[in-house]
Symmetry: C2
Subunit: 450 residues, 2 copies
């Protein structure tokens, strides 16, 4: 069902550009959704993308500008004059216009703003630019439908018709007092099912969820998800209604947050995509690999410190990758569960209770794994009992320590205000590799006495 | 802003239950949102949760039933008669009612359905039960507002008022013909801004996105996200309008999908939470650990096979955890980028181009890392040049192979219809550990000649 452009379509577009056939392009793309046209633009080179963009009707170009990849947008914007950009922005909701304008240099931004014909729109954009992009203020749009508590249903519908012209999607209708303070909301349904002379005061719902402009974007997402809201009003320090956030923006926040956590768990430190340049991908990946390399150095020197064991117990060295791998895997499992629990607020009870639970869990898992390891080792590799017990004891200890470290670190990071997702991936595998190898050889030394 | 119950509130609830004070509980909780009350119920024991549930007003209990954790819901449902469950279901939208009823045993389900007073509602639930829960049919609700293309705005508003009574949230208004075939949509905005006698035929928008009942839930999420839809109509094989899916259900699909991918990357095979029982957590974690253990065995036997190197080049064994860790980390990075690219459809171009890009990327990263490793090794650990070059060459080769494996496996899995997220986490780390160690010793054997 979702549109997928074909290579054939791309070729058609390219050849129309070569023939300088603007009308041909318009005809070819006229039935496509702007999100689909944006996908096509992402595939073209800078000249082609700009050519297609300029061929199309201004009604659709602003939406396309919003949907294309950031690097394509940058190229298109560079080809437009300040006035042309301003005309695109007027077509967009204030929050989307702000997102685009904030990608420009300060100087260009000022030029563009001064070219925006609609003073109200320009003022709104300037206001929105003030807010941090990860706050409620950075997510909200100024477009909303609000009515005064002193009106009646009839006035209300008349006023709303005028306001609705400006608003792409009407969600709730917000009720304010004469000072613009948020008093409550009015559902469209109530309005459709109440007689025309009823005063708004009598029918509005005084209970309304809202967020403050400086609320964190992730927190807004949690609130809207928890209470199943499709839009939420935003108020300033004085309780005045200043904007509203809609669920489509929240879907983006949730998706980006999930992608970030996933990438951190995989040791990728910036928001990259498979189609980014090698340089961007390297910037995101290499730092973690260097961290892991230094962790590896430490494990090398630990092993070097136990080299006297080589004489009588060289098999110990054959098991180091196994022990390190188990420590890494257990640690990542434990930390992932905690990171996810923190992300969706489902983590209850004290740290000690949590560690105790993890202790019993890892003790149980450790026993099962140690039993498998010991029996397989004695059967296939001909261990004696003492060596088998040594390896088994080490494995259990390593698993317990790794799972406690994996549980403890994200909780502590979170308490200190650091993103706990940092604690997954290379960070936890590397530190658990080191701990694991150290514990393994200590225990072996005690039990085998070398 | 988001509500957080306090331990004090939980204690108050418990003591009111002990005093058998139903009214006290109602008063204490009366200003709370049902989602907040559900959170409190999740914290109580089965008896207490059921007690609170039965004390509350029936208007709110159905919503609470929907929000509580599955295990709490199971306990509450067990304490209710079929008739009582049926009464809760009538309060809910058909999609939510279906979700709850599908958790019952077949026999109980039939009893409950026969007790539902509203025949239409019962019929809708029976219809929805037919669909796979991961399909559009499984997500959709039967509640929607539809108008006939042959009506005018006035009739339309009158009919809508009646229909809106049944529908919690009015999104688009769908336009159908006399055979119930979906023809288009009518925005609320258009309806608010058009005169009363205009025929619907003249104002409806014939272009409407829709999905088929058997469309995959994830695909529906992609479509709604891409086209920024807040609701999408669902049609059957004959093009008849049978339901609609709203964005709040899609938010849940996106969140669950992201959590699943994240857990798979961490080696957790089922949807678990930090507060699940130790047994459930073990079931989700132990299988992956056993897989990793078997991988570890293979690495043990590989190392055993190269033990003749111990005589002259024992340092080689000190480096195995470092090599294995680098292979694991690089592999996870590569596969995570591919998995994410597949998930959001941003992966373009052929497999060979993708592998070639990964090859250049890993060659570059490998050179940097090998240079650091060699210089540090020669400076701190006193390697001679030959040994330094051996380790460096091995590291580069291992990194290249690991990144190619990490890129190749998820793409191949995806082409065969297997969830590519399976390829991240323990699976990729374990296989790369093994490959890495094998390549490392091969190269060392060739270069050092033991």
């Amino acid at each position: 069902m979702a549109f997928q452009y074909s290579q054939e379509l791309l070729n058609q577009v390219s050849s129309l550009i070569q023939q300088n056939d603007e009308q041909g392009i318009v005809d070819l793309l006229k039935d496509l959704h702007y999100a689909d046209i944006a996908e096509i633009l992402d595939e073209l080179n800078a000249y082609e993308a700009t050519y297609v963009f300029n061929s199309l009707d201004s009604e659709i170009t602003s939406e396309i500008l919003l949907e294309v990849d950031e690097d394509v947008r940058e190229k298109i914007l560079r080809s437009l004059s300040a006035k042309e950009i301003a005309d695109e922005l007027i077509e967009l909701d204030t929050d989307d216009a702000t997102d685009i304008i904030s990608e420009l240099s300060d100087e260009r931004m000022k030029e563009v703003i001064s070219e925006i014909d609609d003073d109200e729109h320009a003022k709104d954009i300037v206001e929105l630019l003030r807010y941090d992009e990860d706050s409620a203020g950075g997510l909200m749009a100024k477009e909303l439908v609000k009515v005064n508590e002193n009106w009646n249903v009839l006035t209300c519908i008349k006023e709303m018709r005028a306001q609705a012209e400006e608003v792409t999607r009407v969600h709730s209708i917000y009720v304010v007092d004469d000072n613009d303070k948020l008093k409550g909301r009015l559902s469209l349904k109530d309005l459709l099912t109440t007689s025309a002379r009823t005063p708004i005061k009598d029918i509005y719902i005084p209970k309304v969820d809202f967020v403050s402009v400086d609320e964190d974007a992730e927190e807004v997402a949690k609130i809207m998800r928890k209470y199943d809201l499709e839009a939420i009003p935003v108020v300033d320090e004085l309780g005045r209604l200043v904007g509203r956030i809609t669920i489509d923006d929240i879907v983006d926040v949730i998706t980006e947050e999930a992608e970030k956590d996933y990438q951190l768990a995989a040791g990728i430190s910036q928001d990259v995509e498979a189609d980014d340049t090698i340089w961007e991908l390297t910037k995101a990946r290499l730092p973690w690999l260097i961290l892991a390399l230094f962790g590896g150095f430490i494990s090398v020197s630990i092993l070097g410190g136990f080299q006297e064991a080589l004489q009588n117990h060289k098999e110990l060295f054959f098991f180091t990758p196994l022990i390190a791998a188990m420590a890494g895997n257990v640690g990542v499992q434990s930390s992932a569960i905690i990171v996810q629990g923190l992300a969706n607020d489902s983590l209850k009870g004290s740290l000690w209770k949590r560690l105790l639970k993890e202790l019993s869990l890892s003790l149980f898992n450790g026993l099962v794994l140690a039993f498998i390891l010991m029996s397989a080792g004695m059967y296939f590799l001909g261990f004696d009992l003492k060596f088998g017990l040594t390896i088994a004891t080490s494995l259990i200890s390593v698993i317990i320590i790794a799972s406690l470290v994996g549980t403890f670190i994200p909780i502590v990071l979170d308490k200190r205000g650091i993103d706990p997702a940092l604690a997954t991936g290379p960070f936890i595998t590397t530190s658990n590799d080191i701990f694991g190898i150290l514990i393994y050889f200590w225990i072996a030394k005690m039990m085998l006495g070398f």
